[in-house]
């Protein structure tokens, strides 16, 4: 594309080799025509969390937590206190409408912040291990921290219960299940605990069962709906679980097939680089599950228990975060520094055989090992649709770690380039500006 500028062939050839699709500069469906670059962090920004309708917090490896206004891009508060990188952040609202922030850091401390004042309300340091994930059970007014150990805390930061070390890798993810249960992803297993609140406000944590169907480390664990939760592993296994009896409901092993089909399943499984199959992120809207698999996207319908749409090379490199918007629109961000917006569209007539070259999928039974022909069958799924790129947001110079949508107010992205970018609808902003302008004009009584 820029051959005339580059003057050389090296860059261009590498660009051409990559199978990634390019939408070009004309993006009529992309409404983000205005951006604000929010500076404040001085290391990788990894987390974004929404506080309320107009505020969000960002946290990253510099140990800073910054509170921003999504409307003006103003930095409202700077929460300083952690000495090392933030490993987890969550909002915590205990019924009275007041939202505070819980952060966990590698300095083995946990803090509770008031985002209005920027004060550190509570802090616990000298934990045995650093906390990797946080789960707030607002219904019970308790919250859980998971690292190498699992702890239950109340809103006053009193330790209620404590479970010792699970494995070397520690807890990767926590998810709330009905009936006071939580699912904890530990290495290849999902451990289900039940919380029992006794009368003296102490909490008991009983292990109910262990689900160990994954063959590799679990990377993602989400609640799909009241009856189902899902997990994804490093090897590309996507498993749906029943929230009531913790049974395996469906098992999908997503493999991006290499261009030359080989006859041996074992070889095929080994061939793709693990990262290409790794499920980095899962999201769901209750009916669809969107999985970020390597640099591709995979949409699965839990009702039909079938793939809806997929794109193997949705990004140039690993997809880090995804989101399902309304009516078939989705968004993904990647290590390649871009955010892409997709739309699930019906395939034009013939089921786009070209994509078969990139894609192979096997639907496994519980323990079935089936070969090639079934992959062909997968392609004949009648309802298969396609993911069409409708726009991309290019701004970050490093991997986009996460994004957070405020609907019409805009979209925030955070990146390894230490920046946050607030993407906005230019037309809406222009309207708002005009309103503000004429309001000020009125206040001033003319020019």
């Amino acid at each position: 594309m820029l051959r005339w500028i580059l003057g050389g062939r090296e860059v261009q050839s590498s660009v051409e080799k990559s199978p990634v699709l390019c939408i070009g500069e004309e993006q009529p469906k992309n409404c983000f025509t205005e951006l604000q670059v929010l500076k404040g962090h001085f290391d990788i920004v990894r987390f974004l969390v929404q506080i309320d309708d107009f505020r969000f917090a960002s946290a990253g490896d510099d140990g800073l937590v910054l509170v921003w206004s999504v409307e003006t891009g103003e930095r409202l508060q700077e929460l300083r206190g952690h000495a090392q990188q933030i490993t987890a952040i969550s909002t915590f609202s205990c019924g009275d409408g007041f939202t505070s922030l819980i952060t966990a850091s590698s300095d083995r401390s946990l803090s509770l912040w008031d985002p209005d004042t920027g004060n550190r309300v509570q802090t616990i340091s000298d934990l045995q291990s650093s906390v990797k994930c946080l789960l707030v059970l607002e219904r019970l007014s308790v919250w859980l921290s998971g690292g190498e150990e699992l702890c239950v805390w109340d809103k006053d930061f009193q330790l209620l219960c404590h479970r010792q070390k699970h494995s070397d890798t520690g807890i990767a993810a926590l998810v709330e299940l009905p009936k006071n249960c939580v699912a904890v992803a530990v290495d290849k297993e999902i451990v289900i605990y039940r919380l029992t609140l006794s009368s003296d406000s102490s909490v008991l944590l009983d292990e109910i069962t262990r689900c160990s169907d994954h063959h590799d480390q679990i990377r993602a664990l989400i609640n799909v709906n009241d009856g189902t939760f899902a997990s994804g592993s490093h090897a590309g296994e996507l498993i749906l679980w029943d929230s009531a009896n913790f049974r395996n409901v469906a098992y999908e092993h997503i493999l991006w097939e290499e261009s030359q089909p080989s006859s041996q399943m074992e070889i095929r499984l080994a061939t793709p680089k693990p990262s290409e199959m790794s499920i980095q992120h899962l999201t769901s809207n209750g009916r669809l599950i969107l999985a970020a698999v390597g640099s591709g996207l995979y949409v699965y319908d839990i009702v039909t228990k079938a793939v809806v749409a997929y794109r193997r090379a949705a990004h140039d490199s690993n997809v880090l975060h995804t989101m399902l918007l309304s009516d078939g629109e989705l968004m993904s961000c990647s290590e390649d520094g871009s955010v892409r917006m997709w739309e699930i569209q019906d395939l034009p007539l013939a089921a786009e055989p070209a994509s078969a070259g990139f894609f192979g999928m096997w639907t496994f039974g519980r323990s079935s090992k089936q070969l090639g022909p079934q992959s062909k069958k997968a392609l004949e799924i009648p309802n298969l649709r396609t993911l069409e790129l409708t726009g991309d947001l290019i701004g970050h110079s490093g991997a986009v770690q996460m994004f957070l949508s405020f609907r019409e107010k805009g979209l925030v992205t955070c990146s390894t380039d230490h920046l946050l970018i607030l993407w906005k609808d230019g037309e809406r902003q222009s309207r708002l500006r005009s309103q503000a302008l004429f309001q000020k004009l009125e206040e001033n009584g003319g020019l």
Binding site: I5, E25, Q36, I394, E427, R431, S434
Partner: protein
Amino acid sequence: MTVCASAASHASLSNNTMIGSPDVVAFTKEDEYGQASQDPLDLPEEFSIPLYPLADSNPWAKTSYAKFTKDFILISEFSEQVGPQPLLTIPGDPKVCGTFDLNYFSLRIMSVDYQASFVGHPPGTGYPRLSFVEDSRVVLGDSKEGAFAYVHHFTLYDLEARGFVRPFCMAYVAADEKKIMLQFQELSLRFSQASECLKAGNRRAFAKELQRKLQDLEYTHSVLQREEGLQREAGPQCVYSAHAVEKANELANVEKSIYEHRDLLKQISAYHRRPRRDPHAVSCQKCMTECLRECEELLDKYAKLANPLGYSQRVPKGEGDEIQSDENRGEEEVDEDDDEGIKRRPSYTPQLIKAKSAKCFDKRLKTLQELCEENFYEATVELLKETERSFRGDLCYLYTRRLDKSLRRNQKIVNFLFEADLTDDVEDEAETLRPFCAVNHAIDNYMHLNPPHIVLGSEALELNGLKSQGPLGLACKAATTQELGLLGSHLDSSPSDQTLETQESSEGTKESFSSDKSGTDQTEKQESLASINTEGPDPDSDLTPEPDQNTYPERESSSEDMETTAGEDDCDTGQDQTPVSLLEVVSELEARKDGGCEVGMHSELLVPMDTACCMAQEGFLYEAADPDAVPCLSPNSTLNPSKVLVVNQEPHALHPIQDEYTVGSPCSESPPPGLELPVGVFGDAVSRSSMEDGLECTMSASTGSDRAASPLGYGGSVTLRQRKKAGQGALRFVRQYSFAVQALWCLLSGRTLVVLGADEGRVRRLVSALALFVPNPGKSGERVQPWLSCPFTLVDLHRWKLIGLQRVASPAGSSALYSLSRYSRYISILDADMKTLRCPQYRGQLLANMADHRTYIRRGSTYFLHLQSALCRLAARAFLLTFTHHLHLPVSPTEGPEAVEARRRGFLQEQLGLDEEDGQILLYLSRLIAQRYLQPANSDGCAAVPCFSFNYVTSVLYKI
């Protein structure tokens, strides 16, 4: 009507016979500005650009053979010891004056006998009067030397000087006569400020000096009185020895001196209440009130002390003896005395005054610094330096700058887009309107002394009441000293000497004290009115200057009129026996008319008709297109003293544009009219001639628009040469590159343009040329990065709208290229080496005029001005778009954003006739305006992050 009245009231016409100045430039002023009937449909004055009236004359022809290299300011004094002498020049660099003979020139400018020939003790009056002379403004020339000067005469008070005044003058010396003539008003304004500043300091210093002197006198008086009392007790009651008589005489002399000095103090403190005729006489209210308070305290004090008995009673004898032996002259400040109040013994040690004071030739005269308080002096020098700076450059340059300024002042909101920041200039402007104050506290509270208020009502009564202490004290004193029988009758008349107003003219005061004014205020008022009434018109006939006279030495205001209290002697003025120059009489007459106008009862009699003005030669009246605008020749010039014109021996000096220059315009708030010159006609030559002048002055002295034209990133200090280059570069770009219009469109629609090239010089040149088109480039071009050799990020794209990027083959360069391709959707890329441009397609017509590669414009500076006007037009449209309510917001609640959007599009397309792409320019400019309006530039940057907006459009590649 008030304008007219005040205009008339400030009018003065003077005539003077010049001594040894063959080509004194007659100066008259046109003060009739407000009287022209305004057509309501006419453009407001500030928007009109008069056509250049003399197309065939070359205003840049320089016929200067002056011995100095550039204009300078000269301060001279007419020393009573050595005669005219130069005191200092600004700038102080001796190179400036070159071989120019300052002594000779001082002689020339000081030999204008501008002030009333002042006599300290007018015959027949009781006390010496301070002459409150208004400054006079003269334009003098010495064609042999090639020097012309605006000369501003003023006087400062000095207790030791002859008549208590020291004449000084400040002169703006230039080689170009027209420059002075046409800049007269502003020169006058600025020098008036300087003069006011000096005089304010001088009054304070003078009051202090008086106070010391009074203390000395009081002390001497008490000592003498005591001695005399002792003598009288010792000697036989009925025999007056010669010694005793001598003592008594001495005592009487001291007493007289006390009265005199007290009266002087009274006069100096009354200075502030004196109505000013001088249109430029603005003063700082705070300084005024401060000084007034100080003076009143002093006055109060000495009114009480005026009873020598009281004084001597308060002073114990022993202490007096001690002090008598103490000959040290204290140097304490007056302020301390004020703080301590009247009852306290002042810290200043009084000194015995010798009966005979030293005469003028054996004493050292005070320097200018000593005459004024130090800070006032320094402030004045600063002011003059600023004046010198602001008048650098030739006339046309000054014109265009001012035209530019006055036009830009009307579009403050959009100026930031393409015009350079006006704040400096605005400050300048404000400063010229604001009285300069040395202490600089006058920013908010200043008062204009114009139009002056005649003190007739309660204020006068108050004043009277305040001063009634004086007569009381005198009466008391008279009673006590009656037994001596030595006081002259003039003391008896003193109670009636109610110096309510400042006696501004020595001539006037002479008379005022020869007559006994024992009447009440009311009668005085009536008398004064009567005198005005009867006196007003009649001197016209006999005071008309000879119409054939070629030169009318200008005297704007040589001496002040009497105020109402002294009105009755005005009747006598005409018959005054003292030799008074014709000029003075005329000006006094004028002044009296002013008084009449100010009273407001007879103004219709006194407001002169608009047609007449003094004009010596009919030959000067060429090209009088508009008979109203160009003054008519009328021998009966004094009928219209408010309309004054410049007459010169050299015909070319009479430029019709002078007509536009009102001098002494009473309303200095209004921007100086007549500064407009057609830009298109000779704008090109302006910069050229400025540059030919070798004026490589920095931006502070050049037009603001230069800044926009500058290659940016030099910290705002950009020279004219750089500006020239930018204009030329832009023109060259437009002529060379067929896709120039697309490039300009990118810049104007807010799409960052990256100029890519291997050769730094070429890239920088292109960038500085294109920087002219960057909207809102920032005060010192923050939005332009002339040369970048590292990869840029989104933040950079946001910050810079024009980037010069180095093309390198190294890996570092390839990463820069990577950023180019990565952000290609936000930028347009102009490849300086390949001569290609990659940018969205532009098909509009709006910029065709600006970027026509077949343009006939050949000069860079012409193109620059052309550009400025085009951009100005754009900015005006954007302003319209921004502030038209219904184009942005729904007019009814049912209307959706789509309807508004459609209306806006309709406005752009149908009303403004703009294409989609042209509309984008306006939308971008409008966005900038809105952002700027909502968020003034100087608000802290942390609070609000600027937005970067863009749209997703395909780029195409343009080649030559």
